[in-house]
Amino acid sequence: MEFANTWLPFIYLYGVGGIAFVLGMLLILRTKALRVSFERDKKWLWVLIYGFLFYAGLHATFILLAIGSY
C-alpha cells in the first residue's frame, strides 16, 4: 500500500487538525476561558488532551492493523 493511502492522510489530519487544536487550546488558556487553577477546569484540560490522543491512537491502530494484514 502506498504512503498516500496510509500515513499521509494521518499526518495531514493530525498536523493541520492538530494546529487548529493547539491554537484553540492556547486561546482558551490565554483568555482564561479555561482556568487551570480551578479543579474542575483542570479535569477538562486533561479530557481535551485525552480526546485528541484517543482519536489519533484509534486511527493509528487501524492503519497498523490494515498494513499488518497486507
Binding site: P9, L27, T31, G51, H59, A66
Partner: protein, 619 residues
C-alpha cells in the same frame, strides 16, 4: 435491481413505531408553558439526556444511505466524517458554549446582531433558514423514497404523511418533546444499527470459514480496512477534500452554527452539563454512530468478497443498505430497522423545524413587531410557524428530487450555505477586530466568489491538492477550502480597512470575556465556594419575589448566600431534570430540610408531593 420491499409484518412494525413516537412526544406538551420552554426546554436537562438526544439529531435518514454507500465502495474509511470533530471542541466548550448560554442569546442570527448589527442579523437569518428548511426537505425526501416502495403510496403523499406525523408531537411539545422523543429515537437508532451489525457478522460466520468478528475482518481487503481514504484520489471520495469539507467547514458549521444543536445545548441545566454532553457525544457516541450508519456497507462488502452472488449482480451502491438488511434479517426485524430509518428522519426533522420556528419568532417576528406580544401569543405563533416550515419543506421536495442523488443535494447545501456563516461566526468570536462591514462583505462578496468558483472550477485548482478536475462536474469536497479562503480573505481585508468596534459593544460577546460571563449572567459577583447538594422537602409559599428559601443550615451545607442562583430538581435522577426549576436563594428560614417554593416554580417544575427535591447552588 429489484430489492425487497418488506412483508405485512414489517409494515405494521413501522406504523406501530410512528404511533408510539407521536404519543410519546405529545405527552410532553404539558412542559411547554413559555417560548423559553418551547424552544430551549427551560434550560433544565442533564448531560446524558442532551447527549443521547443529540445522536438522533446528528444521524439523519440520509446518513444510513449515504454512509453505507461509501462503506460498501471504500470500506472503513466511511467513518472519516464521524471521527474528525475533536479539533474544535476546546473552542466550542470553553468559547462558544459559555457565550451563547450566559448571554442568553436565543439564536445564531441574534448573536450576529449583538456582535455586529441588524443587517448582519437579517442576512444570517435568511441563510440559516434557507439551509435548515432545505435540510428538512432532504430528510423528507430520503425517507419517503424508502417508504413509498414499502407501502406503494405515491412519493409526495408519503412526504405529506411523514410531515403530519412529526407535526402531531412537535406542535404541542416543542423542545421538551423533541428532546424526549429524540432520546427514545436515539436509543432505537443505536440499537437497530448495532443489531444489523451483529446479524451481519453472524451471517458471515454461518456462511464462511471464519467465525464472529474474524469473519468480518478477514473478508475485507487491506485497503478496505484503512480508516482514512486515499489522500487525493478518487475525486468523489478522497481524504483531503473530505477533511476540508467536513473536518473543518462541517465541524465548525455543526458545532457553532447548527441552530438545532445550539438549542439542545441551551436546554442543558448548566454550561458544565453542556460540556459533559459534548465530550461524551464526540468521544463515545460519534464512533458508535459511525458503526451504526456504515456497517450495512461493510457487511455488504464482506459478503460480496466472500460469497459472490448473494447480493444481486449489479447492486447499486445506494441500494446496499436495504439489500443487506434484507439478506441478514428476518421479517419483522427488517421493519424494525426501517423504523430506525424513520427515527433518524423524524428526530433530525423535528430539531430543525423547532430551530427554524425559533428563528422566525426570534429574528423576524420580534424585531419587526411594533409592540411586545404576550408569551401566550408568541407560543401560539411558534407552533403555527413550525407547521408553515414543514409546508415550505414539502413544497421544496420536488426541487431536491431533481438532483442526481440525495448525496449531491446534501453536498450542494453544505458547500453553498455553510462557509460564509462559518467565517462570520468564527472570526466574530475569536477576533475582536472583525467588524460589521466585514461580516456583511463576507456574506455578500464571499458568496459571490463562491458562486464564481462553481462556474469556473479553475479558480479552485490552486487549492486542489492534486485532486483531479472532472470535466463538466468540477471539484466536489475541496471546493470547501476555496470557499473558506475567499470568505475569510474578504472578511479580513474589509475588517482591516474599517474602524473596529468599541470594547463596550463587544462586552461579553467574544472569547476574551468568557471569564467574566458568569458574573454578567448572574448580575452580581459569582460565589465559587464549593458546597454540597441538599435534599429537601418542599412547600408552596407565594411571595412577591422569584426566590426559593432554604433553612440556614441547608444554605450553609450548599455554601450559598441570598442572591446566589439555585437549581432544584426532582430527586429521581433518571428524570434527567425534566421536573426542575432555576431560581435565586432568598433569605434563610428556620425549618431545616424544607424549601419554600412559589406556585410559579411548581408550575414550571411540575413537582410531585411525594418526592423530595435535590437543590444545588449554581453560582
Amino acid at each position: 435491481m429489484d430489492i425487497a420491499v418488506g412483508t405485512t409484518l414489517d409494515r405494521y412494525v413501522i406504523l406501530a413505531y410512528f404511533a408510539i413516537v407521536m404519543g410519546f412526544g405529545a405527552y410532553f406538551g404539558k412542559y411547554s408553558k413559555t417560548t423559553s420552554d418551547y424552544f430551549f426546554g427551560g434550560r433544565r436537562f442533564a448531560w446524558w439526556l442532551i447527549s443521547i438526544s443529540i445522536v438522533a439529531t446528528g444521524v439523519g435518514s440520509h446518513s444510513f444511505v449515504k454512509y453505507s454507500t461509501k462503506a460498501y465502495q471504500y470500506g472503513l474509511s466511511s467513518t472519516m466524517t464521524y471521527m474528525n470533530d475533536w479539533f474544535f471542541i476546546p473552542l466550542f466548550m470553553f468559547g462558544w458554549l459559555p457565550i451563547i448560554y450566559y448571554t442568553r442569546v436565543r439564536s445564531i442570527p441574534e448573536y450576529f446582531e449583538r456582535r455586529f448589527n441588524r443587517t448582519a442579523r437579517y442576512l444570517a437569518t435568511m441563510m440559516t433558514l434557507l439551509y435548515m428548511i432545505g435540510y428538512i426537505a432532504i430528510q423528507f425526501l430520503t425517507l419517503a423514497t424508502a417508504l413509498y416502495r414499502i407501502y406503494g403510496i405515491p412519493l409526495m403523499m408519503t412526504v405529506i404523511l411523514i410531515a403530519i406525523a412529526t407535526t402531531v408531537y412537535m406542535h404541542f411539545g416543542g423542545q421538551t418533546s423533541v428532546i424526549f422523543t429524540d432520546l427514545f429515537q436515539g436509543l432505537i437508532l443505536i440499537f437497530a444499527g448495532l443489531l444489523l451489525f451483529f446479524l451481519g457478522i453472524q451471517y458471515l460466520g454461518d456462511h464462511t470459514a471464519f467465525s464472529g468478528l474474524q469473519a468480518f475482518w478477514m473478508n475485507l481487503s487491506p485497503q478496505e480496512k484503512l480508516p482514512l481514504a486515499h489522500f487525493n484520489h478518487p475525486p468523489d471520495f478522497n481524504f483531503v477534500g473530505i477533511f476540508w469539507q467536513d473536518g473543518i467547514a462541517g465541524s465548525v458549521g455543526f458545532l457553532f452554527l447548527n441552530q438545532g444543536l445550539i438549542m439542545r445545548f441551551m436546554a442543558a441545566k448548566s454550561v458544565n452539563e453542556g460540556r459533559k454532553a459534548a465530550a461524551f457525544n464526540v468521544l463515545l457516541i460519534l464512533p458508535i454512530s459511525a458503526i451504526v450508519v456504515s456497517n450495512a456497507g461493510w457487511i455488504g462488502r464482506a459478503i460480496s468478497n466472500a460469497l459472490p452472488g448473494v447480493l444481486p449482480d449489479g447492486l447499486a451502491a445506494n441500494d446496499v443498505f436495504v439489500a443487506v438488511t434484507n439478506v441478514v434479517s428476518a421479517p419483522g426485524v427488517f421493519g424494525f430497522i426501517i423504523a430506525a430509518l424513520c427515527a433518524a428522519l423524524m428526530s433530525t426533522a423535528d430539531t430543525l423545524v423547532n430551530a427554524s420556528s425559533a428563528i422566525i419568532v426570534n429574528d423576524i417576528y420580534r424585531p419587526l413587531a411594533k409592540k411586545a406580544k404576550s408569551e401566550k401569543r408568541e407560543l401560539e405563533l411558534a407552533r403555527w410557524t413550525s407547521i408553515a416550515v414543514k409546508v415550505i419543506a414539502v413544497i421544496l421536495v420536488p426541487f431536491f428530487n431533481s438532483f442526481d442523488s440525495i448525496y449531491e443535494a446534501h453536498g450542494w447545501f453544505h458547500s453553498t450555505f455553510t462557509p460564509p456563516l462559518v467565517v462570520g461566526v468564527f472570526l466574530g468570536i475569536f477576533w475582536k477586530r472583525f467588524t460589521a462591514p466585514a461580516v456583511i462583505a463576507t456574506f455578500v462578496v464571499g458568496a459571490f466568489l463562491m458562486i464564481l468558483g462553481q462556474f469556473i472550477p479553475e479558480l479552485i485548482s490552486p487549492f486542489s491538492h492534486g485532486i483531479e478536475l472532472r470535466p463538466g462536474r468540477g471539484y466536489t469536497y475541496i471546493g470547501a477550502l476555496y470557499n473558506l479562503v475567499v470568505c475569510a480573505s474578504v472578511g479580513v481585508i474589509v475588517a482591516l480597512f474599517t474602524k473596529p468596534d468599541s470594547e463596550e459593544k463587544l462586552y461579553g460577546l467574544t472569547i476574551f470575556d468568557v471569564h467574566k460571563l458568569k458574573s454578567i449572567y448572574k448580575g452580581s459577583p459569582v460565589n465559587e465556594e464549593k458546597g454540597k447538594n441538599a435534599l429537601v422537602k418542599w412547600k408552596v409559599k407565594d411571595t412577591d419575589n422569584n426566590v426559593i428559601r432554604f433553612s440556614k443550615s441547608d444554605m450553609d451545607l450548599m455554601k450559598a448566600l441570598p442572591g446566589d442562583l439555585v437549581y432544584v430538581q426532582d430527586s429521581r435522577w433518571w428524570l434527567g431534570g425534566l421536573k426542575s426549576a432555576h431560581s435565586t436563594f432568598g433569605e434563610p428560614h428556620n425549618e431545616d430540610g424544607v424549601a419554600y417554593i412559589n406556585s410559579m416554580h411548581l408550575d414550571h417544575g411540575q413537582f410531585v408531593e411525594a418526592y423530595q427535591l435535590k437543590a444545588e447552588k449554581e453560582m
